[in-house]
Subunit: 390 residues, 2 copies
Amino acid sequence: MNKVRLGIIGIGNMGSGHVESILDGKVPEIELAAVADLRESRRQWAEETLPENVKIFETAEELLDYSDMDAVLVAIPHYDHPKYVMEALKRGFHAMCEKPAGVYTKQVREMNEEAAKHDLVFGMMFNQRTNHIYRKMHELVNGGQYGAIKRVNWIITDWYRTQAYYNSGGWRATWDGEGGGVLLNQCPHNLDLIQWICGMPKSVQAFCHEGKWHDIEVEDDVTAYLEYPNGATGVFVTTTGDAPGTNRFEVDLEKAKIVCENEEIKVYELDVNEREYCYTATEGFKKPEGSWIDVETDGENLQHVGVLRAFAGAILRGEPLIAGGEEGINGLTLSNAMHLSSWLKRPVEIPFDEELFLEELNKKRAASRKKEHVNEITFNTKGSYGSGKA
Amino acid sequence: MNKVRLGIIGIGNMGSGHVESILDGKVPEIELAAVADLRESRRQWAEETLPENVKIFETAEELLDYSDMDAVLVAIPHYDHPKYVMEALKRGFHAMCEKPAGVYTKQVREMNEEAAKHDLVFGMMFNQRTNHIYRKMHELVNGGQYGAIKRVNWIITDWYRTQAYYNSGGWRATWDGEGGGVLLNQCPHNLDLIQWICGMPKSVQAFCHEGKWHDIEVEDDVTAYLEYPNGATGVFVTTTGDAPGTNRFEVDLEKAKIVCENEEIKVYELDVNEREYCYTATEGFKKPEGSWIDVETDGENLQHVGVLRAFAGAILRGEPLIAGGEEGINGLTLSNAMHLSSWLKRPVEIPFDEELFLEELNKKRAASRKKEHVNEITFNTKGSYGSGKA
């Protein structure tokens, strides 16, 4: 095999972006084999846009029955991610899953169990892990030279969306169609990154506000308080209602403070470990000495293209993925824990009761209101995923 | 009267700072009349340092019986602030109260009621209100041109203190001596400023950690979530355990984002009100246009000296105070609400049940442990109050 022949299920905002990257030759080792979309308008777009040798199907099932492919990318509404990833794997296709891995961890756990049975490549579309800024954060925090984490604070409020965005799809921002709001749609990246860089918290208390800034039934404003196993605390704030919004990620460690904002990382390095200084200093008001140091990154930020290239490399030559599919459950665990905590108005320990979460989610789904004023649009999302931003 | 003759009760860290400002001629309209301190070592310092005509007393009562004074400044451990302010007012002295106004709002309410009976000047030592940065924040947020507040986020973690600081006084950082930790000692400034600039929240849920970074029984790490009457939300994070710490205060409004960090204010001004844009824009991923604007301040930051000068001006010529004494209850209300919320592990509505707070505080006081290893020191606190810092 020289090239990976890929089928894409769902050619909405995300799927059509991947189609374009492949047609533009940005992922040389991937060849588009087939696409599927339930919507007539999207299939028409495909007929007008795609080379003749690319098969166009209506349903995911039809696409999965097509055998002249090596891999499948699932880019449909979140609830069905695990289902079609599992179907693809069962048919012997490698699988790439759009984020989030699913809507509830129970279904994602099943997907991971299925994946473990196959010797196939399974990846998650965590494109922000390709960002040099976050890769450097991961390296700095996990390198060990700065000791344990003491505090985490991520204000990630630059996911602005208008009401028109929410009106652009019937499934969007509904409990029954999407299973959540900003936590499920925009934040999977950040929830993956915060756990990738800082590890998983042991408990979460979140305050989710539904329809605070938009006419939607799901949350568009979240403040979450986190507690880590080592006693460190954290805050995660997000919304789709702030303009211009902020993306400021601070991690305080025993020997350094790391702040990532405006596409740069600043590191204040202490000369001594603060934990030792605290108990040995004789002055009451002094601080341990230190200084701001320069941080260099490789500047590379390949985003979705990087994830797809690595996916091809993994299939063709066993190279590492950007993010393994089985890692998708971590960020979703955070998201589910935040929702559950907010619904129950109490802190939630991780791991939480997955059945209880599903029960509560299903109550929300049962009460989900049918959207009015839907104006189906596929937006060009270029530059809308914080791709160049830290 | 040309000059205000001032008596200072308590010449520890704060009181001796005021003494020095006055002796250095920085407050030309105030003359030091008397000081009082229970500690032999501090009276000895006074004997060695003060001009002969300044009376030195052991107890507050002795000082208050001295009649050749116009005003009294109370700078003793927090519990007794209201008591001696009330005693001073009853004797016809103008009064300046060190922060916090007291330890629990019930006692501060009594102090305010007493003050209302007298035609005397009553001020609070909220020296950070003199800071040009915070005055400008107050002006920008309350000027009306940017619409309603949507989000508040203050990470104020640059109150670093060593264990030696906590070992320097028996009353310090105990429930019985001080009535709290970072919220009662370091944060009264910030809690006053956040309410002065953003108004009072309607509810608070806080996560206070006691002795997390130091060997003390009170809180030295706090994360609080706030909800405002108009639906805006907020986060307030503080600690004495982070080095170098952060002081970043962000306020998001309908027409602007204001960020105050590193002694400067940055304002991003939107061309339109985001609330209107959200519902009228036809694009899903676009944001309202805007730009960063220059903000100029008068650069003045007189701190304690500014508060004392204004106090003298208020007594001599009826000029405005920096902060009226009766305003001290607001920041303390926030502090008490945060403590109560953390103790009860639930959100606390404001106004809260003051009797319940006192009951819970008294449980803490009853279980307060006697400090060992106390090494009484009076520190020179110059430059330790974030005086030049935003």
